[in-house]
């Protein structure tokens, strides 16, 4: 039986905002190379398009835990559908030193790269209470949807500060 949070999530995948992203090639839901039995709620996978960079893929996969969607923010990190495991840090997208791209995709913080270093990520937000006052526009609430999360990652992967892998 579908959970209430899953129903809300599925509804948001039917929204104009999400579908416009799919149609324009910005993102799409994926099975991440996993059989259905290994991809059970609240785990979801998406691919997100990246700007062309020499030697880098044209898209990255993210595996997210969206439990209690939208009440609490998702959390997740990059995924490798070829190995069916979290993406090796060496293959993470990189940003110019000191850039927002580099900070959000950093792998050297307290959670050992277990989550994106951004206020929209549940794990990062919980361990950085000060972000709520420093970046009030990025405080996740029930008006936010998966599109907000995907938009942030897509924006970073298409930023001039993104330099490849």
């Amino acid at each position: 039986m579908e959970h209430p949070d899953q129903r809300l999530f599925d509804d948001d995948l039917l929204s104009v905002a999400f579908r416009t992203g799919v149609i324009s090639g910005r993102w799409e839901r994926s099975d991440g190379g996993l059989p259905p039995a290994e991809l059970v709620w609240p785990t979801v996978v998406f691919w997100i398009a990246a700007a062309p960079r020499a030697g880098a893929p044209d898209r990255f996969f993210v595996r997210l835990d969206v439990a209690a969607y939208r009440s609490v923010p998702p959390t997740g990190r990059f995924w490798d559908p070829a190995t069916k495991a979290m993406l090796e840090f060496a293959n993470y997208p990189k940003g110019k030193p000191g850039s927002r791209v580099a900070m959000v995709f950093r792998t050297d913080w307290g959670e050992s790269g277990r989550a994106f270093y951004h206020p929209y990520d549940r794990v990062a937000a919980q361990s950085h209470a000060q972000w709520a006052t420093e970046q009030p526009h990025l405080v996740w609430d029930a008006n936010h949807t998966i599109v907000d999360y995907l938009t942030v990652v897509h924006g970073l992967l298409n930023s001039g500060d993104y330099i490849g892998v």
Partner: protein, 179 residues
């Protein structure tokens, strides 16, 4: 033969919605049937087809420009208007949305179609203020007097309601998470 399609409908003061329609229906009938406009107000509402990106092609030396994107005759069928599956339709009472963007002590003005995305307005503003293209995407539009930064896919018309057909933004650098 008529085909069944879904179109994406945007408008003032509401979130965009998916509406099912038949290609041989008039656009007005589709909007009334979906409860987006009432039959009585139909004559007062302007309907735009497609998202407008004219500002991206505006010459750098143009000041106070305006979009030509014109409302359509909603009494025509979707087929007649060239509305296909997943096309965007925008209904609004404002012909244009007057936009002010502040940055570095300067203000740029332009009148946009309500069916213009925030992404287009932001790209226009970054170009007008001659931001370095590499770092430009780090600068976003924030509604003046707030901390609200509308997402790129939002239409300008969703942010304003007639009779106030105007909005002001500050162009601000996105905050890098620290700590």
């Amino acid at each position: 033969m008529a085909s069944q399609i879904e179109i994406f409908v945007h408008g003032q003061g509401r979130k965009a919605s998916v509406v099912a329609a038949s290609s041989d229906e008039t656009l007005r009938a589709v909007l009334v049937r979906a409860g987006i406009i009432t039959a009585g107000e139909a004559g007062e509402v302007l309907v735009f087809v497609g998202e407008c990106d004219e500002a991206l092609r505006e010459a750098d030396d143009v000041e106070d420009g305006a979009d030509q994107h014109a409302p359509v005759d909603a009494n025509q069928t979707l087929d007649g208007l060239g509305v296909r599956a997943h096309h965007h339709v925008h209904h609004h009472r404002c012909r244009h949305v007057a936009v002010d963007v502040n940055f570095g002590g300067q203000t740029k003005h332009r009148r946009f179609s309500p069916a213009t995305t925030i992404a287009v307005v932001a790209a226009w503003a970054r170009k007008k203020f001659k931001l370095d293209p590499v770092s430009a995407s780090e600068f976003r539009l924030q509604i003046c007097g707030t901390t609200d930064k509308p997402r790129d896919d939002v239409h300008l018309g969703e942010l304003v309601e007639a009779p106030k057909c105007a909005i002001c933004f500050d162009l601000v650098k996105e905050v890098t998470p620290q700590g």
